[in-house]
Amino acid sequence: MALDRKVGLLEGLRYKGGGPMLAWILHRISGLAMIIFVSLHVVAAFLTQQMGSDLGITLNIIYQSLYFQLFIFFCVIFHTVNGLRIIVLDIWPKLIRYQKESTWLEWFIIIPVYGLAVLIMIRRFLAG
């Protein structure tokens, strides 16, 4: 089924899906990033808590770095807002006609919320 589409990578990249396609691919990337992060974090917490391993502490240093926090918070906020958009379109199918506009609305919510968080985090980072 899936691989019988006969669409190569280049053709896939040329496909002009616009905002909804960007939202779809970002939803997948952010979801996969979070499942990897959370699973590793849970296993590392288990090893530290039950076996006194240093692995959890090593991973926590990465997780508490500014760059990782900016990345994972983007994943969380995007996945949440985009997920709520999908739910709204699922409940009221007539709105699917406006799905391009709905991705615009989504960015109008994400950019201020994420921007504010980035501002706070970077200010704190610069202050030391």
């Binding site: 899936a2 979070m34 959370v38 849970v42 917490a45 039950q50 949440t80």
Partner: protein, 140 residues
């Protein structure tokens, strides 16, 4: 052009997981808002930095707020209510996430031996991560 016919939903795995994905997504968002609000009521505004507040919001575990000015974490921040909340978030999150991984795997594989193997791997990862998470929650 005729619009495509949509089959009536039946109670199979695909429909149930489709429904579960929506419901668990909303539930996690509601639980996050609950943890965020409760943290602010309990004095997070003066006791912790922004990153610590976010850590608590996404997963209200007492070890997430050890790195703060809270005088005594056991008062309000570590109790059965938050343990139940954490178990709910862990169950909804793991099931939502690993079901998503299953959907992605099925998108890029054909039905057959390898797809079944990968589905089994995802299933085992789901069981393993959920059990480990509950163990960590009850032990912290």
């Amino acid at each position: 052009m005729r619009s495509r016919e949509i089959p009536r939903p039946s109670w199979n795995l695909e429909y149930l997981m489709w429904l579960f994905t929506r419901l668990s997504g909303i539930s996690i968002a509601v639980l996050a808002v609950l943890a965020f609000t409760a943290a602010l009521i309990m004095g997070a505004r003066n006791q912790m930095d922004f990153e610590t507040l976010l850590r608590w919001t996404f997963f209200p575990n007492p070890s997430h707020v050890l790195d703060s000015e809270i005088p005594d974490v056991t008062a309000g921040w570590a109790n059965g209510f938050w343990q139940i909340t954490q178990i709910l978030i862990a169950f909804f999150g793991a099931t939502h996430g690993f079901n998503g991984l299953r959907v992605v795997v099925e998108d890029y594989t054909n039905p057959g031996f390898w797809q079944m193997t990968l589905r089994l791997v995802v299933f085992l990862l789901w069981i393993f991560t959920s059990l480990i998470a509950v163990y960590v929650i009850l032990g912290s």
